[in-house]
Symmetry: C2
Subunit: 394 residues, 2 copies
């Protein structure tokens, strides 16, 4: 049978990703390719305690197993409101909050709510691969905006706002995936001003800001928005556990309502069992202390990687040095193609992600992304040493 | 701020649904409007036992909390393969199975995989409201096919296959929502033959077939498909618990692969906690016995409703008498508009769903849907008596 798939998914066969994951399952490979939080930081014991309590109260047990409402498990949006207060996100009601099935669902629902076929969506170049793919799955045109060391270039942003009249702009302003960069507050304000002037909605993706191991926090863009144009999406994947697939969106009530309608026909509501586990985890006061416990681990691994890079990588390798998050971005100041080199790296039993996949319109042939959170410092050093051999003389 | 939402969601404001749910939360109202499984049948005690065990094994606990693969939690697809064998679905491998976040996600992913803007999607008239809305959210054209007492009319189906060259046909052949009707095996075969002749994929939605309290099982359409054109979607919402938002799709490997790619950018994978809870529930042998325990309850409530209809409703009210599932479909053989009568019903503290919402192209003004699974027999009798007063003399 010859199947006629939609245009939206016709270009995606997922073979490349699948092949890479097959490779990475080989235990001898030191992988900097993933985007996983440190397994050592996952709260298995605390979740065990909570899981054992969830079904003790018969009323709550029934509520957890029966259908729930799309907006979120009863009381959970209020928990989220309390949780984001220390980020400076205040003055919101449950109508400004939607519980989602992981941060990625927030990105998908924003595209569903705003994008028609052929619409341009702006994003920093490079950006989160999955957002580029999601945009394409809505037949949107993904256009990258050039970036400086402190976030999108305002000049290029304004030029593209003028030229494309986009509906939506996607940013990860804190510890960006893939670069690890953070926009300073002035840049955030300037981007909001520009977006407002050109009538564009900003989708602020913030899965990483709580994983800060150096420097001072910068307020989320939504706290600087006076026009109702920023929607903030976050997730518990990096702060509690990704397997529970739970996150939240905060934004203007009218937009949140539209996202809710979009979600209704997609998965009706997020798993109540996941929501309840996270709600109890937060209410028991485990959230911030458990993150605090994991911070030294992240700092140590990041330092292990930058130390090893300085030691083993060629001088032509320039890299970011993030204050938090999961990723280091590397760029060769030399004519090297990281795609061509990937097999050589695998032959040395070390893996990275080829940087070009994070660019909306191609480019970045000389770049790569390194994740430091899910290997031990010893394996990180060993892995970078192998990478140094691969790129020797470049 | 004036938001410019997408065409796909622009027509949907959800106000009607929201208002109805507000009304229904009033405890004095006897509601036949929902689509919930009987709360009395939800396995709160068994799930409590399982939840307490999930995090005991440290390896499994870590696997449950960390990212997983899109296809399904390790080993869960094999559990599904075992589970569907008694339905006659055999000879499949994990490549034929995708774990989804509730049956609704299967519908959404099938639309994403096959439908371009403007494509026609066929469905039985009337059909599941959420599928009509999901089709519209992909800018598809929803076209209804007329139905006889035993499922879609073959004549009208062929006419519409010819006229519209649709990509996809959506059917709920067993205990349909909203009608409760079941297609006999000959009708199933004939529909598959027609679909094959016109190159159309059949999306078989089967959330209800295990809730059979009378008559003999009819094999799912996928078991009759020799061409690789049927994708079977089911859910644990009616057989275990809807709050866990977990279901599965079975179909040709090439289609399942495309659905997997679509799911990757939507929610990456279904909550591992939900998947693991259901996997353990099935492996402990709770699945079939717990359904068997709930069957008498469903039968009793259905009988309470048909008895009450015969006693209290006017002679002009014709209705289905299902052998399973959740719904009875009613039609007045008289010029009455159930939308106009809805406020009168609410004034009598009884609620139904207006039938016209289940029609792809309008119609059904004289119809309504009644759910019998989530009220006691006493409340069912009282509620139908109230309905009888509302429609007296019609």
């Amino acid at each position: 049978m010859n199947y006629h798939f939609s245009e939206a998914l016709s270009g995606m066969d997922g073979t490349a990703t699948r092949d890479i994951f097959k490779l990475l399952s080989r235990p001898e490979i030191i992988s900097f390719a993933g985007g996983l939080p440190a397994s050592d930081a996952l709260p298995t014991r605390l979740m065990g305690e909570i899981a054992a309590e969830i079904f003790v109260d018969e009323t709550e047990a029934l509520r957890c197993l029966q259908y729930s409402v799309t907006e979120g498990y009863p009381g959970f949006r209020e928990t989220v409101i309390d949780l984001v207060r220390d980020l400076g996100i205040t003055g919101i009601t449950p109508d400004n909050v939607l519980v989602i099935s992981g941060g990625g669902q927030g990105l998908d629902l924003m595209l569903k709510a705003f994008v028609n076929k052929g619409d341009v969506v702006l994003m920093e170049d490079p950006t989160f691969l999955s957002f580029i793919q999601a945009a394409k799955s809505y037949n949107a045109v993904a256009v990258g905006v050039a970036a400086d060391s402190d976030g999108v270039s305002l000049g290029d942003l304004e030029a593209k706002l003028k030229r494309y009249a986009p509906k939506l702009m996607y940013l990860i302003p804190t510890f960006s995936n893939p670069t690890g960069k953070t926009y300073p507050i002035e840049k955030r304000k300037a981007v909001i001003d520009l977006a407002h002037r050109y009538g564009v909605i900003i989708l602020e993706d913030d899965p990483y800001s709580r994983l800060r191991f150096a420097g001072e926090p910068v307020p989320p863009m939504i706290t600087l928005d006076k026009h109702g144009i920023v929607v903030y999406v976050s997730s518990f994947s990096k702060t509690i556990a990704p397997g529970l697939r739970t996150g939240f969106a905060v934004g203007p009530a009218e937009i949140i309502r539209k996202l809710t309608i979009g979600k209704q026909n997609v998965d009706l509501h997020t798993s109540s069992l996941s929501q309840l586990a996270i709600k109890k985890y937060i209410e028991k006061g485990y959230f911030l202390p458990n993150i605090a416990k994991s911070i030294p681990l992240y700092r140590q691994r990041k330092t292990a990687m930058t130390d090893a890079i300085n030691r083993y990588m060629p001088a032509s390798f320039k890299h970011t040095d993030p204050d938090g998050g999961l990723f280091i971005w590397g760029e060769f100041d030399a004519p090297v193609n990281t795609t061509d080199m990937f097999q050589a790296a695998i032959a040395e039993n070390v893996a990275y992600i080829v940087g070009s996949v994070f660019f909306a319109d191609g480019g970045g042939a000389n770049t790569l992304r390194l994740n430091y959170t899910n290997e031990s410092p010893e394996r990180i050093e060993e892995g970078v040493q192998r990478l140094g051999r691969v790129f020797k003389g470049v």
